[in-house]
Symmetry: C2
Subunit: 256 residues, 2 copies
Amino acid sequence: MREKITSSQNKRVKQWRALTTKKGRKQTETYLLEGWHLVQEAIKAKQALTAIMGTAEQLTAHAAVFPPDVATFELTDSIAKTIGDANTPQGIFATAPLAETTSVDPQDAQGGWLFLDQVQDPGNIGTMVRTADAAGLTGVVFGLGSASRYLPKVLRSMQGSQFHIQLVEDDLHEWIQTFTARHLPVYGTNLDPQAKDYRDVSPLTAGAIVMGNEGNGMAPDLQQLTTRNLYIPIKGQAESLNVAVAAGIVMFQLFG
Amino acid sequence: MREKITSSQNKRVKQWRALTTKKGRKQTETYLLEGWHLVQEAIKAKQALTAIMGTAEQLTAHAAVFPPDVATFELTDSIAKTIGDANTPQGIFATAPLAETTSVDPQDAQGGWLFLDQVQDPGNIGTMVRTADAAGLTGVVFGLGSASRYLPKVLRSMQGSQFHIQLVEDDLHEWIQTFTARHLPVYGTNLDPQAKDYRDVSPLTAGAIVMGNEGNGMAPDLQQLTTRNLYIPIKGQAESLNVAVAAGIVMFQLFG
């Protein structure tokens, strides 16, 4: 069943446009998936969708794999261009419910985890979630003060990895303390050459890596709670690595 | 000597604004350094600058380290905001001459190199240059079809690494063939699990790694010229890694 929307003043269209803002997401308790790759990943992961919408051309191209019970809306090309924030919109979207805030108890967490301490750049955050997925980690904890996982640029950079691994928003103090109490190693990262060289740590099957804020690194009080803090030796004249690159190097060394 | 500019119609102001475009850079044969971090890196590297410009406050804060022979221009706050493309402009800039197109002969190249084959995303390119610097590589070759090193977002992501390592624009066929003729290993990268696991290669002191286009990977004809092609095993469900993350993992494994 396909409903056709031709007015840009349609109430639903206004709600979809508002999904690039926090307020808009809160109002409908949903977020926006932009582009066929993300919509397809959601369908493959059997993610609950509240709507699929797109141009006639896009809907026809992909309708064969749409779940039968999801409301579908056909948009004119000009309306489709006003939704989302991609530079080159593909004309296909879906809406999905916001996840519950905290879905995993650190007492029960298994395997490898990435903890994000006040990481700010949406592209970095999304890339780290994608890398954590590729390295076989179980999930990522967004500490208090990290940017939201529902920002359009985070969603784009994750490339659907939110459907493959567990994402949690929670206080990192609790996660670090619970992991170390369970004798699971938690490795912080910083730029201090007094820290341990990341290559001198044995590969892990369970435990966590903490990445800190782009400008300030990990909070000092969190650094004190970790099992060890690691650093990546810099051979050239760059002052530091991009946080997502550093996270990739450490995750693949320890878990990859 | 400080010249004060108060008209937004000033000819120099128009030229500086145009430096976010290729045409504008070509007209004056210069490019724009935005923000104190980049201007400072250029001064530290004794890079030739054609002008330093900024608000009264910014110029006063940093004047002590300006090279004596560079023309300095004081801008009103409102003019400063119209130059460059940073989201949060700092009000300090410099202009530097565009480099000669090709400055290094592959016959003479020493140490480790990163070759970029049609990499498109400016943030990825800048991050790879910064990572190559951090990993102690000698330089980066921008193959034909890779985005320009003078795009504002490339410059921002490099964080000044263009002053630490050599950047060259040239045909990768020639670089790969010259390296292999000199018995320097050149490792391509691709997503083919038939390729060699990157962890099974010995660390290098000289040689090159090739990273390909974000969507299509390395060009097939270049893959045939390499010593070997490497892949990074994906353990989770992500289809691939971000190219800058993959480059970081391989560079630190082979050269770090």
